[in-house]
């Protein structure tokens, strides 16, 4: 009986090894999915901020007052557009603010769009969400 004790002690070793490997692989896979999705949404927010800034910068006379200030309706439309663009990609992502600001940057009239939001994580490996803040500044074409 003792002869087979050696074999008995190694029973299940492969199962343990496979268990460890599967755990690592699943963790890695979940991490890849989590990071990839978060990456995509963050990229989408960046693109939406850029599009919004360009739209604001190129707003024509009918979307501005006599001084070239972008109308409140146009700003509101830009804000809604950013939110709907993100919602179309990931409805779980929260856009807390889209701020369109006309300013003077280094002597040049400029339009700045700041988008703030939060990307929720699915598996909570790295927390529950990732805060995102994107700011894009264009030369204001209307001034």
């Amino acid at each position: 009986m003792r002869r087979f004790g050696i074999l008995r002690s190694e029973r299940g070793q492969a199962l343990v090894e496979v268990g460890m490997a599967v755990t690592l692989l699943v963790t890695l896979s979940v991490g890849i999915v989590e990071a990839g999705r978060a990456f995509m949404v963050v990229n989408m927010i960046s693109n939406a901020a850029r599009d919004a800034a360009r739209t604001a910068a190129a707003a024509g006379p009918s979307n501005r007052d006599a001084s070239g200030n972008i109308s409140a309706a146009t700003k509101s439309a830009i804000q809604s557009n950013v939110i709907s663009q993100i919602a179309a990609v990931d409805s779980a992502t929260t856009i807390s603010s889209v701020v369109v600001t006309q300013a003077v940057t280094g002597g040049l009239p400029s339009v700045q769009v700041a988008v703030n939001g939060s990307v929720p994580l699915m598996f909570h490996l790295l927390g529950t969400n990732i805060p995102v803040a994107r700011v894009v500044t264009f030369r204001d074409e209307g001034k």
Binding site: Q13, A21, L24, L108, S110, Q112, V135
Partner: protein, 326 residues
């Protein structure tokens, strides 16, 4: 006993083989993941670098309209943008090239009258993992280009019965000595009745009230033909004196820009409209005591209006700047 020893020996040799394979597989998998993360990060940064090139090109093209230095303006705006969470003007090397874009969107560098800016943005991305796995260096250089062109408006309703000769301009915002001056010797601006010849009554009807007829001008399109002549008509100058000096209306007025060499006069000929400019009368000079009212100094200025076709008019000052690609 011998056979049991053999089995024992063989089993002992294979102990942990699964672990070894798992370790090797994990190393390979982690390497792939690392490469994936680096490539993803480079791609993400590349989109930021492209955005910076776009902003530089658009800002540079607008600077052409404003008579400002394109590179300096582009650098100023990039100071308010970021690449990889760093200030873009620091994170990237920006260069701009002035040139012209034809109606087909082809960019040609250089030339006297630039209507486009081609911008190049070069940034270095520090890889997170590539260096660990034996890459030659831990950085990747990302280069992106963008071209922005001044798009003249495609049509408009002129505010004065004037036509400008585009070839007489080298800049959208004219500087002293480069602005059109309507007088008997001028080749750069002429009276026109727009779609109705160049006779005095036909032109005068489009001068704003109370000094002219105040008629609503027809919509003129790029490619239309206008008939124009030099500024010899005294009555029209009297109207302008009334408008500018007596009623303080010096513009801005949108006027058509026509294809005509600057070495010859208008002389009552037909010319093709190539775009539009927006001008104001230099009231300070025009209304000064002793100034000959038959010499009408103009200040050419840019004006934002509905964007139209790209390129084709390197000397028009009315329209938008827009991106046309890399």
């Amino acid at each position: 006993m011998k056979s049991l020893d053999l089995i024992r020996s063989q089993l002992a040799n294979e102990r942990g083989i699964g672990l070894v394979w798992t370790a090797l597989s994990l190393v390979a998998l982690c390497s792939l993941v690392a490469v994936g993360i680096d490539v993803g990060r480079i791609t993400f940064t590349a989109s930021e670098v492209q955005s910076v090139a776009d902003i530089a090109a658009l800002t540079g093209a607008r600077a052409l309209l404003d008579g400002r230095p394109p590179l300096a303006d582009a650098t100023t705006l990039l100071g308010a943008n970021t690449i990889d969470s760093r200030v873009a003007s620091v994170a990237a090397t920006i260069s701009v090239q002035a040139g012209s874009v034809d109606g087909s969107g082809n960019f040609t560098a250089g030339g006297a009258a630039a209507n486009a800016i081609k911008a190049k943005s070069v940034a270095t991305v520090t890889n997170l993992f590539a260096g660990i796995f034996g890459a030659a260096n831990g950085t990747t250089t990302v280069t992106k280009t963008a071209t922005a062109v001044i798009a003249t408006t495609a049509n408009g309703r002129p505010g004065l019965p004037l036509a400008l000769s585009g070839d007489c301009f080298t800049n959208f915002n004219c500087t002293a000595g480069n602005c059109p001056t309507l007088n008997t010797q001028s080749n750069n601006a002429g009276w026109t009745g727009l779609t109705s010849g160049h006779s005095r009554p036909n032109a005068e009807q489009y001068i704003p009230v109370p000094c002219g007829g105040g008629a609503t001008a027809p919509i003129i399109n790029v490619g239309d033909t206008l008939n124009a002549t030099n500024g010899t008509v005294t009555a029209l100058f009297q109207d302008m004196d009334c408008l500018v000096c007596s009623h303080g209306n010096s513009g801005p007025f949108m006027v058509p820009v026509v294809s005509k060499t600057c070495t010859s006069g208008f002389n009552g000929n037909d010319f093709s409209v190539k775009g539009f400019a927006t001008v104001v009368v230099d009231a300070g000079t025009y209304c000064a005591a002793g100034h000959d009212k038959k010499i009408l100094p103009l200040l050419s200025v840019r004006h934002v209006d509905t964007p139209g076709s790209i390129g084709g008019c390197t000397t028009c000052g009315t329209g938008f700047v827009r991106l046309i690609g890399s």
